[in-house]
Symmetry: C2
Subunit: 208 residues, 2 copies
DNA sequence: GGGCTAAACGGACTATGGTCCGTTTTCTAT
DNA sequence: ATAGAAAACGGACCATAGTCCGTTTAGCCC
């Protein structure tokens, strides 16, 4: 599907496109992306998520409205981009931060730390997550990372079965829409966490 | 807080408000509610959920736009009202329909039937559920019914622990937002169901 | 540097959810 | 039956997400 059109022998040009790298952003485009994200962050800080209107972001960044949509597709896309930022930091903590969240602790302790951390992160970003709508889960980047991590920990713990689905089931009660329901039953966070630990121990099996 | 203003003895009027019944809908209001719901259903059938704009519903029902919002609060509210209808039928099947979904079968079989049915219902109504947004879960009526039913079945099965949270955990993977994620991994329904059965058996415990 | 092309830009324009308020209808008490 | 009050009505109006297209700019090759 990719160019194999060149025929005879000749020295290749310096850079050949490795995968099909999307052709690299033009400078003005890159500049505006950053300006827009910073503007959006400023607006969130100043007026909350609801204050982030597309017009406001455009104006704050000093660009036209069309540009905002060209860069981020939609309001949800913009919100997802904002989320992505903090999500990336969190991933770093899991991959290379201190235990028990990071590597070094035993898998069960890591799983517990993971659940707690995930729960708190979701609560903190609840508004943003809601505003990102499908874009947040669709940008599979973030979600598939956490799902993969849970699969890995379950495997370490010797769990057998359809790990992908077990991971989904274990993560589901920590997702924002589910926590919404929980919240309006007025269940406190610690009890939610305790319930999740119970769930995890049932999934992992007898030894806890 | 309700009228105790009348002082002396006199025969009470025929109907005294039992609890504080919300003062009963005026006739025009009731008529319009029905007209609007029917109009909305017609529009869904004809143009899909996306075709249900508030202007269109108002026009189709032959009322003003303000009336739509007065009756249903918001577009989400209207969608939730549509959902509520089918949800009610489904509840009837659980309460008094034939086993194994309805009463009569043993709890484990009922639980399995419940999961399957819930999964399919959610998939069928996915679009509507999404359009109803928070209103669907906030109208606790529907959700708290299914949560209660699961708690009941878990209790029948002798499960111990925080049944409310276990019910939430068991239901979570069947909720629309979670199924969205699953869907974009391209996991087929039967496998999702199999995974859920596995989850249920882990939650219920050794005996299955 | 000069010129060419594709990409990016900006802001007017559209569609739609949601609000407001002057008018009309229903209900109740007399 | 009538009057008065409370509730409902309708549609003009507002705010904001998203589109479109004529204009500008970055990158590239000579």
């Amino acid at each position: 599907m990719v160019a194999v059109t060149r025929v005879a022998a000749m020295p290749e040009p310096v850079l050949l496109p490795l995968a099909d790298t999307p052709p690299a952003e033009r400078r003005d485009a890159a500049r505006n992306r950053v300006a827009l994200l910073e503007a959006a962050e400023r607006l969130v800080a100043a007026h909350g998520v609801a204050g982030v209107t597309m017009d406001a972001v455009a104006h704050e960044a000093g660009v036209g409205k069309g540009t905002v949509f060209r860069r981020f597709e939609s309001r949800e896309g913009l919100m997802a981009a904002l989320l992505n930022h903090s999500e990336t930091e969190w991933q770093a903590a899991v991959i290379s931060g201190p235990p028990p969240l990071g590597p070094g602790a035993d898998p069960w302790d890591r799983l517990l730390a993971f659940g707690r951390s995930r729960l708190e992160t979701t609560i903190v970003h609840a508004e943003l997550i809601r505003a990102a709508g499908r874009a947040s889960t669709r940008s599979t980047a973030a979600y598939s990372f956490i799902a993969m991590h849970v699969r890995y920990l379950l495997a370490e713990l010797g769990v057998t079965g359809d790990l992908q689905l077990l991971a989904i089931a274990l993560l589901a009660p920590l997702e924002a829409p589910i926590l919404d329901q929980v919240e309006l039953d007025g269940i406190p966070v610690d009890r939610v966490y305790a319930g999740w630990v119970d769930l995890a121990s049932r999934i992992v099996g007898q030894g806890r």
